[in-house]
Amino acid sequence: MIDLRRIRSFGAKVAAAVTITTGLAVLLVSVILVGSDYVQSRREAIAIARSETRIIGINSEAPLSFDDAQMGAETLAALKAVPNVASANLYRRDGNLFVGYNNPELRAPAHELASAGVRDEGNWIYVTEEIHGPTEQVGYVQVAFDMSGLRRRALATAVVALVVAGATTLIAYFAAGRIRRFLTKPVAELASTAQRVSKTRDYSLRAAKYSEDELGQLTDVFNQMLIQIERQSGEIESRQKQFRIAVEAAPNAMVMVDEHGVILLVNTQTERLFGYSREELIGQSVEILVPEQFRSRHPDFRETFFSEPKARPMGAGRDLFGRHKDGHLIPVEIGLSPINTDEGVRVLSSIVDITERKRTEEDTARLAAIVQYSNDAIISKSMDGIITSFNPAAERMYGYKAKEVIGKPVAILIPPDRPDELPMIMEKLRHEQPIVNYETVRRRKDGTLIEVSVTISPTRSADGRLIGASAVARDITERRRVEQERQHLLEAERVARGEAERASRLKDEFVATLSHELRTPVSAILGWAQMLRSGNVPPTSEESAKGLEVIERNARLQTRMIEDLLDMSRIISGKIRLDVQSVNLADVIQAALATVRPAAAAKGIRLEAVLDSHAGLMRGDPSRLQQIIWNLLSNAIKFTGRDGRVQVGLERVNSHIEVVVSDTGEGFKPEFAPYLFERFRQADSSSTRRHSGLGLGLAIVKQLVELHGGTVTAHSPGEGKGSSFIVSLPLMVIHPREDRTERLHPRVSVPAADGLQQPSLAGLKALVIDDERDARELVGRLLEQQKVRVASASSADEGLELFNSFHPDVVISDIGMPDVDGYELIRRLRALEVGRSHSTPALALTAFARSEDRTRALLAGYQMHLAKPVEPSELIATIASLAGKTMPS
């Protein structure tokens, strides 16, 4: 049988079907016809056989009934005419064979006598009939008929039928070929189109339509399907393309693997991150991207993922690393996402290189540790000046705990007297200017101030926005102290060195000047001496006299210079001794004026003197005082041009005597004022200086004035505007005892104290208050000589204290004192005495000598007023009077 399923060609199938169907139909018809013909023929043959057998029977009744075998044989012999009778037997009623006949051409198998009827034995049938006489059965007849002829005929018919069927099939086959071509063309077209579409995946192909029948409809449906597939395929392709683009465009490395870990897709970032090319990765096991030590476990992880595929980060809580082609490990973070595809579940890994983040995290951690353990205070603040962090060093430095200040304005650390500092800092930060080593002051919690050096830098958010600032502050109080100390030392050293250098330079200049100045008179002396000695100058001539005068004058000049030098030397070594005595300064000034007058006259300089003759009584060395005045006057004349003016004034100012020497000369620059009184110092010390001299004059003046307890100052409005020198000398507090010679002088108006009986002050307690030490000591010494117990105070306050503890019998006080003057003192003293039985007598001893001063003192509370300088005897008498001590009898 042909298996149609094995036939691949639809056309062959159609042809086969047509052919087989036709053949089978013809065959079936033939079989039916042949069969029915055979059955029919056999049935007819059997009927004929029975008829013939019955006829034999009828014919044989007689023989049997007569037992005439011959006749029986003859009856049977008639059967010779029937070709298909193989044998015929006549049996008696008891069944015994009576007579038989056998066709010599046919030999039928022997068969026992059967009951009447037909026995079909295939090729042979045995027909048995009963033979009846007129009254009874006489025997049996059995005839065997050869039926093989029927079979042969049936076979022949079948062969013919088969031949007809074969011919018909053949005809059908050829006819099918024609039909096939007609039927299969659309199908073949469909098949070929489908094949081409399948092969080329070109869904734009269409099958040609050949008819409007079912195949035509099929072609339409097929083409519709292609259209749909084409559309869907486009969509799928577009979706896949988008997916690829998305993966490619991802900022991270993207790797898609299947459940076996085979890499299906990677993007450029993956190539970049791992160093492999796309071609090297696709189709490879993803484990090549896994560090060796994790490779063995990776498939298990993958299996776990695929067993329950859902999006999640990989290796949560563990540090993950990828392996670069060159073997180095890359810290990564991996996100896993399952993707359902037609081929099954895939996993898409998104791999982020966190090298930079790790580094940042490490940096951050390191930074945090630095901040934590830094010895510098580190404070962060927001742009509105709110503290956002405060490290332990800041806690130590500022005394605040972090939790106390975080959230508070940073201004709490800034002293209130610096209101502009924070706005200035914030302004700078806003302009992105860092503040480096800004030295300032900060306030601790306890209010104490510390000096700090602050460096403030702006801080930015990840997107670069200015979000605040971090300030690193170092306590530089100690450093500042050390610096200041060092600065002071350096300064002192610098000053000392400068001083030494200046001294050395001045010394050099002085030696040059000295050399010049000492030799200048020598030049004149030598020159004139040579001339006089040459004999060309008559000894009695005017020239000779002039020469001798020049020699003498220059010798004196030189002598004075040498004396100046020696004076300076004595002053420096402290060996100068003042011959102190009572001096009227007006006389001294007059004497000095007389000395310089010729020099002034020589330059046409006008000399003026305004002297208060009562002002000038003091104690001092008259010759040294004259030296002072003479030096100042000489100096003024020396530096005053022709027709200028030099003025000297003397007056009493409070408890001092002031001598003012002023001129209209060159003056000096204000900056030279501090050096005027330095020895060897001249504004111009060069060899071409305009003025000669050793530069010792003013230095000697200063030393001598100071030895007298006074001061000297110089003033000038500027160069070319003249100058004035003011000598301030202390007034004598007590008139000195005149020595014997002077006491005999008629001018002495005050009788000598020891010429009178003096009152005894012994045992008296006196409180002496004067801000001037010399005055205080002088009065004290005088009183102590009178056996008075003396307590001294240098100020009113001290005096009031002593008054309470010392309980003096008498108070002697100055009026002009700093802070609290003598008027206020006596008022307070009197206030202390309120309620006491008596008030302590008090004496005002003051340079305020006018009558109104006296009145004011008495009104303030003093009993007596004496003007300085006072005669010792007068003072003693006054005190005695105040204390109620009477004269000794």
Binding site: S515, S523, K546, S687
Partner: protein
Amino acid sequence: MSSTPLNPIGILCVDDSTDIVEMLRMAIGREPDMTCVGCLAEAGAVVDQLENLQPDVVLIDLTMPDADPLEVIREIRTKHPKVRPVVYSGYDDADTIGKAMDAGACGFVSKHQDLKSTLDTIRKVARDESPSLCR
């Protein structure tokens, strides 16, 4: 007495010390080949007087109260190149001599030299073109 040469060296003495000026005038007056054409106590007057006094040599001190003698020397050299300034100073250190020469002085005599040396230097300067020095 020897007769006065036809062209004695005319010398102008400038020093604020009258003693020195007087001495110089007297000493010069005794030299037959020299004559003191004038004495000035102020340096500022020197240039103005040159036309009038016609000196060959100006003997000038360096310590003058009214004007800087070095400036005066410069002015003499500029305005009267034939007049030969000689510095006569008590300072005779190298620095001072250098300054004087730089200013244009034709000679330098220390005040510490005796009169004869001083006068000889003046002679040399007056006759010779090259600067002379007498310390």
